[in-house]
Subunit: 434 residues, 4 copies
């Protein structure tokens, strides 16, 4: 079974579930991590929106705070005045039920509040939430449930914050470094192994123990044929072979929409790869460096993942195959979350015969469209806009990435992005039907 | 089981399967029907491309001919010169394997060959194909298989031709009539009934008897929970209630992409509906007339279908639910194809207790994304581009419509369009989980 | 000296001015010429709008008729019913004062009325206008003035019709021919000569003798320094030297907007030029043929004309220099209008020491923005929308072209197009300041 | 008469011309003013690009420094290493001759160098320039000429910096204040007076005394008819009458391009005006406040200015009329430049019978296209890209604005913007022909 393993210095939301779904310690740990992630960034870095999909760092910091102010404090401490009444609209992301919102594509046009003022906003709301948790109302399950949701929401934005700033810095010809690398990346490579997984009528979806998002429910039965799953992610060496074989020039390998994207966007390699003389180099948060053969390929769209799989004589797994394998096969421990190592890890020699790199490296594209599970129902009210309304035009990714905060990953987790997305940490695990 | 019933004056491709998959009679019947559909249209009508999704009538007539010339005559009669070597590029729709093609969005910029010359092209190719079929090579199963595929391909374009010209004529303030109505539309209305369908582990996909497209295969097992399916399509009276209840103004009813489309496109009703004083009127191929309460609502996007279902406290069926119901429940006979009645039929009083309007009225949006079945493999070569490469970003529709030619419908048929599409004959059948 | 010379078989609007500004013979001659220009075109050709700037042939035929119906018959024969009340909106080009209009970019979406019905519309309106002219009201100066304006308006559309169909046919890989060439084009080439023109305080604008458009008035004084004007148009041989010298790759030669257009549009040569092995060929109304060294370069934007002039160490003339030269220097006779020779003529050896190719070959870009003359006032009412409201964002061209109908050219005529336009017959005459 | 009057605490570039075209004191004064203008802005404010036309504050600060580093230090102190070699590309605005440049529309995606680092860049370059000026080379007329050009260039960017940040702050629902108002705005209003100006053959363009940009030369003769010029700018009271009279709803008042912009952009009032209950309020650098009747209308496009003039029965002056009036009629003193009063001044009662508000309030749209003067030649090399290549698609404005730095205004100055521009301080002065 599953999830991230290894000791974690930060208590996690996941761990805190049950008796203390949203205790003060967990609350503070999560909130502190957001600020720690923003710490290397200057006020200018925190202001930029480099493309419509990206949000500024200080917007992430403010919006996660807005979530607690709007959904927790407004309801459970209605007597408290808002920090700033304009923030209600300014930091609403997409909740139609909350009222008007500032246009998403214009988030980079907002210079104020600045990074410092956002910090004050965070501290002010934190103080109120902590006080509320310490009060008798702090035991109200509805309150603790909303706080727990808010913390998981914030963890999602922690990952987005890092993804987004990686994109922001990538556009700068000065090649800024978010955090210097602590050690050179190395790996052993080696061929992929295949893990056999039985099919049959299996259960899919969250089993109710601990927190999950609504889109992981209800648990339901799915029929699977037997399949084989790659025991590791596709590597950069393998991807270079695909490139060298004309993978980006052969229409027959691509879905029609993917082929259109290749031509319209001029894709010739994963996002952040550039030619430097005879070799490929890659933009990372610790600067530009050569692509490493044994590291997992990352920042590819679902179209590219699909074309690669076709080229390799394989296919992408469905989300149900992935989940069933994660729950039934041997899974190698994932590495410990480490703020200093914000990159996927190269393949290492340990752990054979089991599924490696399932968590903590790259999200893994599946062939499944992001759709509601049978019997799915969104929560009532604005909170119900969390997931359900995005179940259109997106594809499911499974696992977690090097940017996923501690305690946020689980085998039933359904991440989702449009198939053309390349700025998340998206990688490829192959499957095939024997 | 299923499909269209009732006598048909035209022999159909479907009926001819098996011993004579592609006999000369069937070939000629299908080819003649295309010309009959174009017959009411002048050369100017046949030239217009009213939006990028639409193709000119004469392009449909030429492209279906190109299919036979390129995939059949080039291979089985290579000694014959092409009718015009430029046509190979000009009338290629999307087959990358065949070489360059004229841009789809520019099909309306091509005035020549004109409608008459396209007729000559059709007759020239027909003569060669008929001669080939009469020759010893005419028994070659590969040849007859390709011809059969070409005829089903042509039937699809027959439906597209009618859909497309309906759109072309809709933009003209003169409100041109394609063919006058032969009788006023009437119906009885009445509430929807619900048909219970058992779940379980069921088979989905084509069983191999008769022709099917590759996307209907392989047949495979799917697990379904029990469900209820509406015994008829949603009517225009019901849709007007949705409109009157603010259905197009309430964000909470919509998928996020759908809500965006509502606002960006200014949708306030189905395509082709317009206000005329206090009532709704609708553009049809026989002119503009009042909306009829008991007729099925038509020309709605999947977003609208989904929002309507949410408003109605129901949901859309999955494609597997629809197919299983069509194969296991009682299905009322569908009406006989009739060139003079190119509109969905209002609800009639006959046939209670069974699924009505499954075929021959409106395609029915499902909640299923258009994805490959487990184990799906496209055919090798350019013909393999037929279906597989479009398995991205589209939703499945089931059933058939008033524009679907005779013999083309079946319970396993998978039609597909992007969720925002409104110009096909798309309607809504509800489902829910008891 | 001025205008076109030589006998003309068709009576012209110009010639008819004064006592018989709009006699029946002139009316019929002009109206007949429009139909003669459309005669080689099938109904499909007449329907296509190949880009937003282009209008379908049958739209030109209908719109020019609409002008007479709306501005003449509505006023002077109000008792007559309209031919079709929908046409009032459908064939309104841009007259806000007349009411709603069909969107310009959607003219190609209108299949009906077809080419034949438009012919009936023309004949019906012609019959009424001729009857009106024969009646006592036919002498009303307001009536004859409006008819005269309508005829000049129609002549402009005659030129647009030919320009537009040239573009339509150019997109067709079948390379359709509008009318076969009657004789091979030949010429003598030879270097350009320079004609000295005195400056001083000169008069500009129409002097009131004969018809003119309102934008040619009022006549006013302009101060000019002495200048020299090329005695012929820039040739294709010269333009090829510009191309070969990297003219399209050197940013320093271009206006900023021009350089942007070069890159955004991928311009590498005039519109309609294509490489065919080692030589340039050009699309013409009589088919594709090699570019001829001595023919005037044609279908270049003002940006290209300006860049060429800079490369050549010269400049474009102002519209006032051009007009003053045309009125004060010796001007070689222009060729006779000929329906069979719809191409600019190569340079010939005759006529030295005077300005050649001023009329009847290519419109000549000037460096003047299209702005109102001092004291300009548009006519009241919808007819006043004719010219004035377009005095923004466009550049003036002077002279006339091989597509300009007989009698339509004069030295004070101000043609205008946005500087990026390439589909009119636009050429280059150089100037410089000694 | 000419230019700004009144004492100025800051020495100006203009004043320093001649013997000391670019002395150290002048250099430092101009450079200091840029920093003073940026001083109220936080690092986040300085980073935002709120629309493609706008540049971030820190970009202006860096680009003006780049000008000195690239055009002065590279040439006159080539032994000095660049401050950062990447800046050469990063802060190049549009000089093709200097090499590649960072895309203009992406300036807001650049977070580093931050505001502090840009300050270091400025100081480092300043130190080198001051040292150079103190060296023997500091007397080289080519050097001092380039520095003088660089200072005038910087003054233009000072105005752009303020215009741009006004737009940035306008998008923020928090309504940030750049600098609080020091006193309430008041004015006296009163009708416009008309100043008669003689026509004739007059000189236009700079006479060579003191600095000017190349686009003001060569001085040349222009013929003008007598005209009348409004003695003050159009006021907000007058503009409100235009709005109330349906000015934004009447197509007949507008140029065709203007009418299109009205509809496409939804213009209903000047930029920065908003309805607040029954009155108009306006965004300013000192916050949102009611529109004042007697203040000049500001932030209108040339299309709006033109439509207003037509509605008022007048017209816009040509740039030559404006210049001739400024040089020949009595001109009231303009107010003293004041960093604390960054708004146009309301009409005051002083100074009758002369032209008021010619400088220091709003730039004044003319009816003249921005085109080269007869005989104009750009300077050789990259510096020659300064003005000439923009002479296309823009309209001339005359005068100066409340944002124009001291010493930068003069009667021959040609400012220019595309006619749809509304974010500069653009106002309206009427003219008519008696």
């Amino acid at each position: 079974m599953i999830g991230e393993t290894g000791g974690q210095e930060l208590r996690t939301v996941q761990a805190a579930d049950g008796s203390g779904a949203a205790d003060t310690g967990t609350y503070c740990d999560v909130r502190v991590l957001t600020e720690a992630l923003a710490e290397p960034l200057g006020p200018e870095d925190q202001t930029v929106q480099s493309m419509p999909d990206v949000s500024p760092t200080k917007w992430h910091r403010a919006h996660t705070t807005w979530f607690f102010e709007t959904f927790v404090l407004e309801k459970f401490a209605p007597q408290l005045p808002p920090f700033d009444p304009t923030y209600r609209m300014l930091f609403n992301s997409y909740y139609e039920g909350v009222g008007p919102r500032y246009p998403r594509t214009q988030r980079g046009a907002i210079s104020r509040p600045g990074a410092v003022e956002v910090g004050e906003y965070r501290r002010a709301v934190d103080a109120k939430v902590v006080e509320l948790l310490a009060s008798p109302a702090g035991q109200d399950p509805e309150l603790t449930g909303l706080i727990q949701l808010g913390l998981h929401h914030e963890q999602q934005h922690q990952e987005l914050l890092v993804m987004d700033i990686k994109h922001v810095l990538s556009l700068n010809p000065l090649e800024p470094v978010y955090r210097p690398a602590t050690a050179p990346a190395t790996g052993v490579g080696g061929g992929v192994g295949w893990v056999d997984v039985d099919g049959g009528l299996v259960d899919a979806g969250h089993d109710g123990s601990g927190f999950c998002f609504d889109n992981e429910t209800p648990r339901h039965r799915v029929y699977l044929e037997p399949f084989r799953l790659g025991d590791r992610l596709v590597t950069c060496a393998e991807w270079q072979a695909f490139v060298a074989d004309g993978g980006y020039q052969r229409a027959d390998l691509w879905l029609s929409d993917g082929w259109y994207a290749v031509q319209a966007q001029g894709w010739q390699a994963p996002l952040y790869w550039h030619r430097d003389g005879g070799r490929w180099v890659v933009h990372t948060l610790s600067g530009t460096r050569p692509v490493l053969d044994s590291e997992p390929v990352c920042h590819v769209s679902q179209y590219e993942a699909d074309a690669y799989a076709r080229w390799a004589g394989a296919r992408l797994p469905t989300e149900f195959e992935w989940e069933h394998a994660a729950c039934s096969a041997a899974v190698a421990p994932s590495r410990r979350f480490d703020l200093d190592a914000l990159h996927p890890s190269p393949v290492t020699a340990d752990a054979h015969g089991c599924l490696r790199q399932m968590f903590g490296e790259c999200w893994q594209w599946t062939s499944s469209a992001y759709l509601p599970y049978p019997g799915f129902a969104a929560a009532p009210g604005a909170v119900g806009e969390y997931n359900g309304k995005f179940m259109s035009g997106q594809m499911v990714l499974r696992g977690s990435s090097a940017f996923t905060p501690p305690g946020h990953a689980r085998a039933t987790y359904r991440n989702f992005f449009p198939p053309q997305s390349r700025w998340p940490l998206t990688g490829v695990r192959l499957a095939y039907s024997p």
